[in-house]
Every structure is written in C-alpha cells, then in structure tokens.
C-alpha cells in the first residue's frame, strides 16, 4: 500500500532530510512513526502527499508510482489519503458541518451525498450535537475530532496523522487515539507521527523510529523501549 525504496530527500541547504529510506506499510496497518524534531517525519508525510519530490528513490502509494504522476493527477492521489495535523487546520469562519462538508465540496461531490455522508462521520467522531458550532467554541480535542471527520469524509484508504495529539491533554489524546484505532479497525491504513511516548507504549502497534533522516528501528509491536535504544523520544 505504501512503499518507499531507497528514498533520499535533500533540501537546497543543510544535511539530507531523508537518507536511503526503505519501508513498506501494508493495507490496513496501524503504524507509529517516532523521532526527534528534524528526524525527517514531516518530510516523509509531505513526500507521501506529493507536496515534495524525493531527490532519489521511488515512492508508491496504492500501487501508484508517485514519480510518474502528472500534476493533474495529484488531486486524485490526495483524495485517497486523509490527513490531520497538530494545529487542526480548520476553517475558522465555518461551523463544524461546513468544515466537514467542505472536504466533499472541493472534490465536487453532489450535495445530496454530502447531506447524507456528513452526519455519518459526525456520529463516528461523536460530534453530532455540535454540528453548528464554530471552531473557537470547541475544545482542542473536539477540534481535532472535526479535523478527523474531515479527513475521513471522503473514505480515504490511508489516514496520515501528523502529531494529532500534540496540542491535546492526556484525556483528549486518548480519545483521539481510540478514534484512530476504530478507523483502522474499519479497514483504513493509519500512519501516526507522534512524540507521545505513553500512547506509543500503551498501544503496542508497529513503531518506525527515525533519526536524522534514517530509519533506525522498525518493530512490529514496539514501544518506547525499542525507540529508546536509539533516541530519546
């Protein structure tokens, strides 16, 4: 489902952001990517979304060779990948319903499907009651759930979460992780980039540890124990 083969990424200045990265994430997997700041985690996500081009190597997403994708085909790739960020990136001038519906509008989904689908994902993330609220009226955890709902509304086969609990308290962090687990249980491949060692330890999922652009460990049911062997996360 996600394959990287000897991927290098060097920015115009400084050391390589990714160096000889090779990994395979299968369909339906739940994977944590951990590492210090500057370890290459965000670069990895940007490469998967084709926001960046690798300097060398091949990347395949859902059997598509990203190097061969034309500019016009990028939106189609991104519709297969849901993405959530630490800072939620919600539209502040729109309510919960409109934020989620927006993701369907931009891919030109007919309005009757939007009306049917948005309440479904709102129920999934537990925000049915708050569909009229604007982001500033919601807690951090609720805002992240809206972001998750927006990422899921178009039924992506992959969900990338970049520090989804970075701005949340432990209680809300756990709620988000439970949601991600539920989403994964329903068949979506979930890749979570995080610093949260408690969660990584407790969930016992596959953990890929990165340091200075290199994958230093890849453990099936990892936790901080494995990561700590290499770096301090």
């Amino acid at each position: 489902m996600i394959v990287l083969e000897d991927v290098n990424k060097t920015y115009s200045q400084g050391a390589p952001a990714l160096s000889k990265v090779t990994l395979k994430i299968h369909k339906g997997e739940f994977v944590f990517v951990v590492g210090n700041s500057g370890s290459g985690k965000s670069t990895l996500i940007k490469l998967l979304l084709k926001e960046l081009e690798p300097t060398e190597g091949k990347i395949y997403v859902n059997n598509k060779d990203l190097s061969k994708l034309k500019r016009k085909q990028i939106p189609k790739l991104r519709r297969e990948i849901g993405v959530v960020f630490q800072d939620f990136r919600l539209l502040r001038d729109r309510n919960v319903y409109d934020n989620i519906a927006f993701a369907q509008k931009v891919i030109e989904t007919p309005p009757r499907f939007i009306k049917k689908r948005v309440p479904q994902v709102l129920t999934l993330v537990g925000l049915s009651e708050k569909y009229r609220s604007v982001p500033k009226e919601l807690s951090g955890g609720e805002q992240q759930r809206v972001a998750l709902a927006r990422a899921l509304v178009n039924n992506p086969s992959i969900l990338l979460a970049d520090e989804p609990t970075g701005n949340l308290d432990p209680k809300n962090s756990w709620e988000i992780m439970k949601l991600l687990e539920e989403i994964n249980r329903r068949g979506t491949t979930v890749v979570v980039v995080t610093h949260n060692r408690e969660i990584v330890d407790a969930m016992q999922k596959r953990v890929i540890t990165m340091n200075k652009g290199v994958i230093v460990s890849d453990e099936e049911k990892g936790g901080h124990y494995y990561a700590d062997k290499y770096i301090d996360i």
């Binding site: 016009k72 991104r78 539209l91 509008k105 931009v106 030109e108």
Partner: protein
C-alpha cells in the same frame, strides 16, 4: 462544471469581494473609469465618423465637359464614372439647370435683369456631373481618373477638405486607441493586485483545499469569478451613466449651437448602445479575467 461548483465559485467570489471591500472598490472604480472613458471615446469617435461620412457625402467634385460636346458623349462619360468602384453617387446637372440655379441665387432680387439672357444661356458649356466618393481619402487618385476620361475639360475639387477630414479621422482614432490601451493596462494591474490580496487572505483555506484533493481548477475558479464580477460591475456603472447622459449632451449641444443642426446629425442612443453595451461588458469581464489569471499564475501555485 457542476452546478453546485458554479454556485460555490459564485458565492466565494462574492465573499472575496466583500472581504476585500477597499481593494475591490478601487478596482471597480478603475474599471468604471476605463469603461467610462472608452464609452465616451467610442461615442465621440463614432459620432465623429458619422459626421465625417455625412460631410464626405457632401464633398463632391464637379466634372465639366469639352465645349460643344454631344449629350450622347456626356452620357458615356457618366457610364464610365459610374463604373469606378470608388464612386459613391453621381448627379447630372444640365446647362439649363445650372443657369436656373445661378439665376435663382444671384438674380433673385431683380429677376428682370436675367431676362436678357433668356435666349442665350451664359452657362451653355456648364453641364456637369457632381461626383461623391466612398472614401474621401482616395480623392486624388479618383480625380486623376476623372481627368483622364476623354471629353472631360475640367475637374473642380478641394484637396484640403478631403485631406483634413481624412487625417483628422485617423488622428482621433489613434489617440483614442492609445488612451484606451493605457487604461486597460491600469485596470488589469489593479485587478491583479486585488486578486493577489484575496489569495493571500485565503492562503490557509487554499492550503487545506490542496491537501484534501481539490483540483487546480476548483481552487482557482472563485478568483476568476471574483475578477470577472469586479470587471462586470465596473463596466455596468459607466454604461448606465453614459446611457443617462448621452441624450442630454446631444440635446444640450444642439440647443447651444443651433447652426450645427443643419450640418451635424448625431447617432441615436440605441444605435450607440447596441455596440457599446456588449463591448463595455466584454472589456470589463476581459480585464477581470486577465487580471485574475495573471495573479493566479504568479501567486497561486496549486
């Protein structure tokens, strides 16, 4: 384009205009000024051309024939003149008609004085053709042609009138085209700046749209709509204003310069607006479209 996408683009376009009121108003104002001047120039130039055409119709050259020429030969000369493509009208005046006209204007006060010439027409050799041209600018070559016809004694014409009318028409055309080009450029520049500000205000939203798989076309269309809407609004205001003042100006000019009424005939409002409305709207929308395209190309990398 889906109807829902079209509605979305329209809504967003209007929202952008509202959000960015000051710059939108500045752009609308510039386009309004541009289309207003264009409309004024168009009205003046079209009316001027109309007046010149009318004047050209009246600028005739007169062709006189050799002394003692037969009527049959005169008719043949007439046929030859008619056959020339540059000729618009040809009117024959016989010697008798010429004398009659002369008598009426010069002996009106004392018609008995003209009686002496009753049996001996002093203008016996003054039968003539009055000839008008389709294009006054080509008078010289047509006069040469007329002079070359056998049986033609003399061709009377005024070189100055023809040249002045045709040169003035050209000059007015060049000046108005130059001014309109400058105004169009200013309009495009301002619209593109307005759109650029709209893009920077919505940077975050555009970033989200890109990440969730919006096509370039979907991201760009609200900005194109915004530019075109600004252009159309900017064009409609001066068109309405010109429509309102055009008649009033004509009436004023005619009242102030009574003597002009017999020489000048203005084009009616409806006839002017048949061209001016589609032209003004197309220019407004065109400026908006080009301005937003430039800005999108420069500032919106999707």
């Amino acid at each position: 384009m889906r109807i829902s996408t079209l509605i979305y683009s329209l809504k967003q376009g209007l929202k952008n205009i509202r959000r960015n009121k000051l710059f939108s108003l500045a752009s609308i104002g510039t386009i309004a000024a541009c289309v207003f001047l264009l409309g004024i120039f168009y009205s003046i130039v079209t009316n001027f051309q109309h007046i010149v055409e009318k004047a050209e119709e009246q600028v005739a050259v007169t062709v006189f024939f050799d002394n003692g020429i037969e009527q049959e030969a005169i008719d043949q000369i007439g046929e030859k003149i008619k056959a020339n493509e540059e000729i618009d009208t040809i009117t024959y005046t016989s010697a008798e008609e010429a004398w009659e006209a002369y008598r009426e204007s010069y002996f009106a006060a004392a018609p008995e004085l003209a009686e002496g010439f009753k049996k001996d027409n002093p203008l016996a050799d003054s039968a003539s053709y009055a000839v008008t041209f389709k294009d006054i600018g080509r008078q010289n070559e047509v006069v040469e042609f007329l002079q070359s016809i056998e049986g033609v004694r003399q061709v009377n014409y005024s070189e100055t009138t023809a040249n002045t009318l045709s040169d003035f028409g050209k000059l007015a055309g060049y000046i108005s085209v130059a001014i309109i080009i400058v105004l169009l450029a200013v309009g495009i520049f301002l619209i593109s700046n307005t759109i650029m500000i709209g893009i920077s205000v919505r940077k975050e939203e555009i970033g989200i749209m890109k990440l969730i798989g919006a096509t370039d076309y979907f991201v760009r269309s609200p900005f194109i709509v915004e530019g075109v809407l600004i252009g159309l609004i900017g064009a409609t205001i001066p068109l309405a204003a010109i429509y309102y003042i055009y008649d009033k100006i004509i009436i004023y000019v005619m009242e102030q310069f009574n003597t002009l009424t017999s020489i000048i005939e203005f084009i009616p409002t409806n006839q002017i607006f048949k061209v001016l409305v589609p032209m003004g709207l197309a220019i407004g929308a065109g400026i908006g479209f080009i301005g937003s395209k430039i800005s999108i190309r420069k500032h919106l990398r999707v």
